[in-house]
């Protein structure tokens, strides 16, 4: 199918882009990587009258380290993050998660900001950012806002962005040394949308105890799900195989999955349990094995 006709703008700066969004309101849609939007246009399930192509706003493409954070521009390509030595060294769970996004050509166009704002419940970046408790900076006509991950993802395909706002920057913590981490995704084929995914972080304290656990699941709720009960179970504890098993059960209980053609709700709940367990095991193995 071919898209409907649209007007097309290529602003060079953020204020220019916001100005266009304000002017055209509901009729306008931001085009970044286009890997989600273009198929929707081609199927004619999205019919924006105006496309504001922000790919020329080069100032939004960056990866920097600032003290104990990594600061990433909204237009940074997924592939850049995947191969960035900084990301691989300081926040490897992000690079790992991104390697599950579609296929290589898709990742050369898809952007960090685009994936977050699109807020697909099975997308990898939202799940990892939730586990990392990242902060999103958005800019709009009324100025700048900072949104924490737990307020950023509202529901299916809906972020907390107000109309005419653009996501310009994401901040994530660098992982302390001796952090156990794992990202796992179960899908039908290589590169497919995830059916269930898990991002697990074990922040270790003293005496071999896990100080804090962060567990985010994708594909089991309208937006990335933090498995709080499972996290509580692990926090302050010495990690054991039995604890991991129980954490999996708790995580599954917290899910509210839907059934679709590929996977029933019951099956997703089961996968949530299984992959939470496997992911925690892998994270723990990383700690045990040393870095």
């Amino acid at each position: 199918m071919k898209p409907c006709a649209f007007e097309y703008f290529t602003p060079a700066t953020v204020p220019e882009a916001i100005g266009l969004l304000e002017r055209y309101g509901e009729e306008a849609k931001v085009l970044a990587g286009g890997q989600s939007l273009i198929p929707m246009l081609n199927f004619r399930v999205a019919r924006p009258k105006v496309l504001v192509d922000i790919n020329q706003v080069k100032e939004l493409d960056y990866i920097r380290e600032e003290k104990d954070e990594l600061v990433i521009g909204g237009l940074t390509r997924e592939r850049s993050l995947e191969v960035s030595p900084l990301i691989q060294k300081k926040c490897p769970i992000l690079a790992e998660a991104i390697s599950y996004i579609g296929h290589l050509p898709i990742r050369t166009r898809g952007t960090m900001g685009g994936s977050l704002v699109h807020a697909d419940p099975t997308a990898e970046i939202p799940v990892v950012i939730s586990a990392l408790e990242g902060t999103m900076k958005v800019v709009g006509p009324s100025g700048e806002r900072l949104l924490r991950a737990e307020e950023f993802f509202v529901t299916y395909l809906t972020s907390a962005l107000e109309p005419s706002e653009i996501l310009v920057e994401v901040r994530i913590p660098t992982l302390p040394p001796n952090t156990g981490w794992s990202f796992m995704e179960f899908s039908r084929r290589h590169g497919d949308f995830g059916i269930v995914s898990v991002a697990a972080l074990l922040f270790m304290g003293s005496q071999g105890r896990c100080q804090k656990a962060s567990l985010a699941l994708g594909g089991v709720a309208p937006s990335p799900l933090r498995a709080r009960e499972a996290e509580k179970l692990l926090s302050g504890q010495v990690i054991t195989a039995a604890l991991i098993m129980e954490a999996g059960v708790l995580a599954a209980q917290a899910t509210e999955p839907e059934s679709d053609y590929h996977a029933s709700a019951e099956y997703r709940r089961n996968l949530a349990k299984v992959f939470t367990q496997r992911s925690l095991q892998e994270a723990w193995n990383k700690i045990k094995g040393g870095k």
């Binding site: 409907c4 199927f43 179960f186 039908r188 084929r189 290589h190 590169g191 996977a263 089961n270």
Partner: protein
């Protein structure tokens, strides 16, 4: 004529097609640009079953760039329904007329300056539908009270026949056990990378049509479209471009779109182009048939299968159209597979549901048949406590029994089933695998071994479609039979060899293989042979059976090429003999020269022979035509009509495939992992091993898709849920495991080179091999496997269900 030394045939010569294809210099449908070409978009039904109360195109006609809009009501005036080989046919036009019967069925066509504008026009067409209840389940469709699709038929049964062969009653009497099963085969297809494309031109001044399309044959469908449109065949010229991006049978079902776009061209009096997009392809092109089978085997305790009884219900969707009901009958000759089973009872139903239509999909009917037969063989083994390999060895047709005529009239030309099957077992180290399975099971791991042995029929004899009608009905009509394939070989005035075929290759490498064959025949280099496979019904020698389908090129196609080449050779030898004043029996053609045996210094170059034939025509032997060309439209003598006992040799050459697959199922996720896989093939003489390997991997991957990933899924209201590749899961390279491929060659006595078809191969055997492997893996859980695809979700649920039962 003596056999030629095989310098090129049998070698893995690199394909001549590849460089130009890889460089983007192929010649496909979408590459064709014609002057004043307009573009069509098709409005399709969102309902699975509904009356069309009215269509309002007034707003759409005002849409920018619109040239014209064609509706179903007009189509009904401009054409007739397609004829089809059943007693009470539905009225199948190329567009829905008063009713829609599947989601995606064409309802109107908009023609505009470009495709974007044509789709804008579609948005403005208002159709008023009166929805009706839909039926999607095969067995529900034939229950009383089911929604009826075709009022003129009165039921959803398009075709219904009974068959008896041998003495099934005796088989039951002698049997020591009867093993029964019910099997469901899913609806999937081959999704060629290039979709359908049509460019139709109508000249109102000459009243002639020129229609480009990427059709794969058989050319019976050219006649069908001519009949439907009420045009003499010679006024409608079909041209098929040199390159087609995959067919696999799917492109045998595109002729209704050829008709539709031709009518659109007629309506506007010009040229209309339509390239199908992927969503259209997944909604409304052509898929394989889904089937429900009840099958039972009467067996002895030693594993001998005395007889088979089965009831098979095929679903061709919202309509039935040619070549259906072929889905049910293509495999008639090889119904008993590789086994010596002489007693059969069959009930065949072909029914309709509110799903999209079907066409021969790679394997055509055999994967459905073998899924039942080979699952049943494994179930027989399990019930008798025998090794499933042993049961197969017990029942195989033996190597010294060829040619072997089956109970249903199939004439198996050559084979050695025990040898090929043993090779598959050896390639996976079967005994060792069984021992490892035992160990794995003790650890609670779900490891399974799936075996299968199937007969791979090729070169369809079109007679088999007639079996859809009873003996009495057939007597009222002209018999149908044949398998002819055409080739013209010519030598030009400067001695260059050129071959023309009508095989419409869709990627099989015909140009390469033909070059190899002709190079051997003439003693020249394959790179000096040129091949043209652009099919043009005006300019080419073809018949209704020409094309690429049922894996006919390797056997039938090559035989036609050899025969045509040898005609030319014979003439060249005669001319050379005339010049050298020697006897033709003493002449030899080698290395581009003709000479007398034993006196190679007395030789004439081929170029010189051609020179005489073209430039010095009076020097030719008296009465001989000028020029140098040979022609063959070769039909195998084994292609006869069905007899009065409903026996028919449905194919002509019969190969063999054995699969041995070892899997492990993860009980936590239901995921299937392949540990080992051996695939052994007997395709007769192998013409190009590299190409054959491609065919094996391709057919295997198609079948892997249907076994674990792909399915055209519909909800209970007939809504298609898999209209994009997001949900219709075609395996990627990452999903295909390593496969050990083995070959044996039992040459066919029927073909010039001893080759048999190899295009379908593993598409027939892999679905059941995977089914058998997973069934074996899950046997300790008490899970029965009787359907596909085996998604992780499905397997996990089966395991949970079995747990609850315990």
């Amino acid at each position: 004529m003596p056999e030629v030394p095989r310098k090129w045939v049998g070698k893995s010569m690199k394909r001549k097609e590849d460089l130009r294809l890889l460089a983007g210099r192929g010649n496909f449908m979408d590459d064709i640009r014609l002057p004043n070409m307009k573009h069509a978009a098709i409005l399709r039904s969102p309902y699975a079953h509904a009356w069309i109360k009215g269509i309002d195109i007034s707003q759409a006609l005002e849409s920018p760039g619109v040239i014209g809009i064609l509706t179903g009501a007009e189509v009904a005036k401009m054409s007739q329904p397609f004829p089809v080989g059943v007693s009470v046919p539905p009225k199948y036009y190329c567009c829905a007329v008063d009713k829609v019967r599947f989601v995606g069925e064409p309802v109107a066509v908009a023609v505009a300056d470009n495709r974007y504008l044509a789709e804008d026009a579609l948005d403005l067409i208002e159709v008023e539908y009166d929805p009706l209840p839909a039926v999607v389940d095969i067995e529900e469709a034939i229950k009383p009270g089911a929604p009826i699709l075709h009022e003129n038929i009165g039921s959803n049964i398009y075709n219904h026949r009974f068959f008896k062969y041998g003495d099934m009653e005796k088989a039951y009497k002698e049997a020591e056990l009867v093993v029964k099963g019910k099997f469901k085969f899913p609806k999937y297809g081959s999704t060629p990378i290039e979709t359908y494309g049509v460019i139709a031109s109508y000249n109102p001044f000459s009243e002639e049509y020129v229609v480009y399309n990427n059709y794969q044959g058989p050319f019976v469908n050219h006649s069908l479209v001519a009949i439907a449109l009420g045009i003499p065949e010679n006024k409608m010229r079909w041209i098929v471009p040199a390159d087609i991006g995959g067919g696999f049978g799917t492109k045998t079902g595109m002729y209704p779109y050829v008709a539709l776009i031709t009518l659109a061209a007629k309506k506007i009096g010009g040229t209309v182009k339509w390239i199908e997009d992927r969503r259209e392809h997944l909604l409304a092109s052509a898929t394989g048939t889904d089937r429900v089978t009840y099958m039972e085997a009467a067996v002895k305790k030693d594993g001998t299968i005395l007889g088979l009884k089965d009831k098979a219900i095929d679903n061709t969707g919202g309509y039935i159209r040619p070549p259906e009901p072929g889905c049910a009958y293509r495999s008639t000759g090889n119904h008993t597979g590789a086994y010596q089973i002489r007693n059969l009872e069959r009930e065949v139903l072909v029914v309709g549901t509110n799903k999209c239509l079907t066409a021969p999909n790679r394997g055509y009917g055999c994967q459905e048949l073998y899924f039942s037969l080979e699952r049943l063989v494994d179930m027989v083994a399990a019930k008798l406590g025998m090794d499933p390999a042993e049961v197969r060895f017990k029942n195989f047709i033996q190597a010294d029994q060829f040619p072997y005529t089956t109970a249903t009239g199939g004439i198996y030309d050559a084979g050695n089933y025990p040898k090929a099957f043993q090779m598959a077992l050896d390639l996976i180290d079967y005994k060792k695998m069984r021992a490892e399975q035992k160990k794995a099971r003790a650890e609670g791991r779900l490891v399974g071994i799936g075996l299968t042995s199937v007969v791979d029929p090729s070169v369809t004899n079109i007679a088999y479609v007639a079996i859809g009608k009873t003996v009495e009905e057939r007597k009222q009509e002209r018999p149908k039979s044949g398998s002819g394939e055409s080739a013209v070989v010519k030598v030009d005035p400067l001695g260059g060899v050129h071959v023309m075929v009508c095989t419409n290759p869709q990627g099989q490498g015909h140009e390469t293989v033909i070059s190899q064959i002709v190079a051997d025949e003439f003693g020249i280099d394959p790179k000096d042979v040129t091949v043209s496979n652009v099919v043009d019904t005006h300019d080419r020698l073809y018949s209704i059976t020409t094309g690429s389908f049922s894996s006919r090129f390797a056997s039938q196609g090559t035989t036609a090429v050899v025969r045509a080449a040898r005609q030319v050779k014979e003439k060249m030898l005669k001319i050379a003999g005339h010049i050298l004043e020697a006897n033709i029996e003493d002449m030899v053609m080698e290395e581009g020269k003709v000479f007398v045996k034993g006196s190679p210094e007395k030789s004439i170059r081929l170029r010189h022979v051609a020179g005489v034939a073209h430039w010095d025509q009076s020097a030719l032997p008296e009465g001989m035509d000028a020029g140098l060309f040979g022609t063959s439209l070769y039909c195998m003598p084994t292609s006869k009509p069905p007899d009065d006992l409903d026996r028919v040799n449905s194919s002509n050459t019969y190969g063999f495939v054995a699969e041995a697959i070892v899997v492990e199922v993860d009980p936590e996720t239901g995921q299937v992992k392949f540990l080992k896989w051996a695939s052994v093939h007997d395709a007769g003489t192998i013409l190009n091993p590299m190409i054959v390997e491609g065919q094996v991997m391709g057919s295997l991957t198609h079948a892997l898709g249907g076994s674990l990933y792909e399915e055209f899924a519909y909800d209970e209201n007939g809504q298609c849920l898999t209209a994009s590749f997001q949900d219709y899961l075609v395996p990627t390279a990452m999903e295909v495991p390593k496969v050990a491929i083995g070959h044996i060659e039992t040459p066919s006595p029927l073909t010039a080179l001893g080759s048999k078809g190899t295009g379908e191969a593993s598409s027939m055997s892999v679905p059941v091999a995977i089914g058998n492997a997973v069934a074996d893996a899950l046997a300790p859980c008490g899970v029965e496997i009787d359907e596909l695809p085996l998604s992780p979700n499905k397997i996990w649920h089966l395991i949970q269900k079995a747990k609850k039962k315990k």
